[in-house]
Symmetry: C2
Subunit: 380 residues, 2 copies
C-alpha cells in the first residue's frame, strides 16, 4: 500500500491519514475523460463490515465535493466520520449485514490523486499540471476500487450532492455494477444559478494573492480566498429558514470596536468559524478542479436528454431524495432524475423531504433521511 502523499499542501487535515484508509493504484498512464493523461494515480477508500462470500452485500458511497473516504469511525480509525450516524451496527447502512465502501474522489486531497499529490517525475505537487478531472473520471475511479475488491454487482450506489452526480455517471458507465441507485440533493446537470455561485467561488479563490496563479506553496497561503469561498458555500448549503430559527438577528456578546466592519451578528461568527476550519484544510486547486467538474457534468450529453441517458443505465430500483429548502440543487432537479429513471423503466421511489437544513440536510437531518433510506434498502 503506498505511503500517504508527502506534498498534499494540507496543513490541518480533517482526520489524520491514513488510519483506516486504503488506496488502490490506477492503471498508468490513464486517459481521462477530457483527454488528459494521469500517471501513477491512486484512489483512497475505507470499508466497514464484511464482504459476504457471494460478494453481493456491498454498498458504495460516493461523496460530495469535500469529504474524505472516512465516512464513519471503525476499529482502525475511531474518529467520527462525516456520515457517522448513518453507518454502523443496526444503523441505516448496517455493517452487520452490509459491506460498506466509501471512496475519496479523484482530484481530491484526501488520499486520492489530485492537484496536491506529488507528480511522479519530480515529487512536487502536480498543481495545474494535473489533468482536468470530470465527474466521469471520479465515477471510474470509484468503479476501479469496487473492481479491485472483487465486487461485480453492488447492492446499491449511494451519492449525496456531487456524489449523486458521480453515482449517475457510474450507473451510466458501469451499468452492470449499479442495479440500484440512491441519490440525493444533486442534479443530472447543474443549473445556471449553481454554476454562477461556483464560478464566483473559484474566482474568489483565484483573486487571493496567495493563490499565485496556482503556484502557492501551501494551502494555508490561500486561506483568505478559500475561507471566503467557503462562506459562500455554507451560505448556500443551508437555508434562510434554518438561520432564521437558529440565529435570527442575534448579536455577538463581544465585538472588535477597532474594526468598523467587524462581525456583529451571530450568523457572521457562524460563517467565520466555518471559514477558519476550512481554510488550510482543503487544497485550493483540488477545490477548483472538483468545483469545475460539477459545472461540466451533464447527463443529457449522453443521448441528448436525461431520459436518453437513463436508458443507457441498467437501474432496476432507485431512491431519489430532494429537499424543499435546497437552493443549490432544488427539489425539481431531483424530480427530473426520478422521472427520467422511471421513464427508462426503473422502479423509482421519489421522496421530497421538508427538512429546513437545505442542501446539507442529508448530513444533519438524519431523523428524516435514515428511515427513508432504510426502507428502500429493506426492499432490495
Amino acid at each position: 500500500m503506498p505511503a500517504p502523499h508527502p506534498f498534499t499542501g494540507v496543513t490541518r487535515p480533517a482526520h489524520p491519514m491514513p488510519g483506516a484508509t486504503r488506496t488502490i493504484a490506477l492503471p498508468s498512464p490513464l486517459r481521462l475523460h477530457r483527454g488528459g493523461e494521469l500517471r501513477a494515480g491512486a484512489i483512497a477508500y475505507e470499508t466497514w463490515g464484511e464482504l459476504s462470500a457471494a460478494r453481493d452485500n456491498a454498498i458504495l458511497i460516493v461523496t460530495g465535493m469535500s469529504p474524505s473516504a472516512h465516512a464513519a469511525s471503525g476499529p482502525e480509525d475511531p474518529s467520527p466520520g462525516w456520515w457517522e450516524p448513518m453507518i454502523g451496527s443496526e444503523r441505516t447502512f448496517d455493517t452487520d449485514r452490509h459491506f460498506i465502501v466509501c471512496v475519496n474522489s479523484l482530484g481530491s486531497c484526501r488520499g486520492s490523486s489530485g492537484p496536491a499529490s506529488p507528480h511522479p517525475d519530480d515529487g512536487l505537487p502536480w498543481r495545474l499540471r494535473f489533468p482536468a478531472v470530470s465527474i466521469e473520471d471520479i465515477a471510474d475511479g470509484a468503479a476501479a476500487v469496487v473492481g479491485a475488491l472483487g465486487i461485480e454487482r453492488l447492492r446499491a450506489v449511494v451519492g449525496p450532492s456531487m456524489g449523486g452526480m458521480t453515482a449517475q455517471a457510474m450507473a451510466l458507465r458501469h451499468p452492470q455494477l449499479c442495479p440500484n441507485l440512491i441519490v440525493m440533493s444533486c442534479a443530472a446537470r447543474s443549473s445556471a444559478f449553481a454554476i454562477a455561485l461556483r464560478s464566483l467561488q473559484r474566482q474568489i479563490v483565484r483573486a487571493d494573492p496567495g493563490y499565485a496563479n496556482g503556484q502557492y506553496a501551501h494551502a494555508i497561503d490561500v486561506a483568505t480566498g478559500m475561507g471566503l469561498a467557503r462562506k459562500l458555500g455554507v451560505a448556500t448549503y443551508r437555508s434562510p429558514q434554518e438561520w432564521r430559527e437558529r440565529f435570527g438577528r442575534g448579536r455577538l456578546a463581544e465585538r472588535n470596536d477597532a474594526d468598523p466592519f467587524a462581525s456583529e451578528f451571530q450568523i457572521e461568527s457562524y460563517l467565520d468559524s466555518h471559514a477558519r476550519r476550512w481554510a488550510g484544510s482543503f487544497d485550493p486547486l483540488c477545490y477548483l478542479y472538483l468545483s469545475r467538474a460539477m459545472d461540466w457534468f451533464d447527463l443529457s450529453d449522453y443521448g441528448g436528454s436525461v431520459e436518453a441517458a437513463c436508458r443507457q443505465m441498467a437501474v432496476e430500483r432507485a431512491l431519489v431524495i430532494g429537499v424543499a429548502t435546497d437552493i443549490l440543487f432544488p427539489a425539481e432537479q431531483q424530480e427530473e432524475i426520478a422521472e427520467s429513471l422511471r421513464a427508462a423503466g426503473a422502479d423509482v421511489d421519489y421522496q421530497a423531504l421538508p427538512s429546513i437544513q437545505g442542501h446539507d440536510a442529508f448530513l444533519v437531518d438524519i431523523p428524516r433521511f435514515a428511515p427513508v433510506i432504510s426502507r428502500f434498502l429493506e426492499r432490495l
Copy 2:
C-alpha cells in the same frame, strides 16, 4: 449650489454629474443616529414635473443601495435614469400631475456626502473618518430635501429595496410628512441570510489588497473585490428561475484556453459584464457603509415589535409589494410589513407578484409593477 465633489474616487460615474442634480446643505455639525458627527454634509436630489401651488402633489422616491438621484431623464439631463419607464408624462409617476423628487442616500457617492466626499478640513476623501451612517440618517437626509423644497406633506413616499427601509424610517421619524407609503422588495429588518450575504460581500471587498484598509487612492484600485462582491449581489438580485430561462447551460462561443478556469457558460459572462460595469463606478467605502446600514436597520427597535413601530407612524394608506422569487427579501418580509401596518390602523394593499426576476423585479418587470402602483396612486 456646491460644485460636484472633486474626490469621489469615482472614475466611471453612472451618469455625468451634476446635470439635473441639485444639492442641499445639511445643518453643520449634524449628529448622526449612531453618535458620529458630520460637518458640511450635503444631499443630492433631482425633480421632475411641477410642484403645485398647494404643494400637495409631491412624490418622494428613496433608492436602493447604489442608484443615484437620476431616476429618469429630463430637460437638463437626457440620459436614461434607473427607473426611466416609471417616471414621465402619463407614466406611473406622472409628471403632468405630480412633482417627483428622487434623493441620493447619505453615505453614497452620487452627489450626497459619503466616505468618498472631501473632508471639510483637508479636502481629502473622508474614507473611514466618515461617521457611521444608518438608515435613519438616510431618511432624515431625504426629509431635509423635502423640507427645503417647502413640502410639509408628501402625496407618497416610494421605496424599493433599501429605499423601502428608508421609507419606513421616514414614516417613523417624520410621520406628518408621510401619510402614504409605497414599499417593495424590502424588509422591516434584514434576515440572517441577507446579513450573511452582505457580510460576505463586505469581506470580499476588504480582502482585496487594493482596499488597503480603506486608504485606497481610487475606487478602481479595489476593482477586483468590488467586482466579486457585485457578482454575489447580482446572483441574489435575480432568481434561479430567470437564469434557467435566459441562460440555461448555454456555452460561450469563445473561451480563453490559456486559463483553465476561464468562463465557459453564458451565465458567467453575464456576471463578468455586471462586475466590469460596477467596479470603479461605485466607491468601495460608500458600499461598505450602506451595506452595513441595511444590516443594522430594525424597525422593531422602536417599541419592541414591527407593529409597535408602525403605531408610531401616521400611515393612512400603504401599498406593499413582494415578489415570489426574491431570495434576498422574501415575500414573507413584505407580508410582515403589510400586516403590521394594517394592525396599526393603515389601509393596506398587499400585492405578491409572480415576477421571475427576483429582488430586481421592480426595475425590470414594469408590466407588473406599473399598474399596481398606478392604481394605488389613483385612489389617493
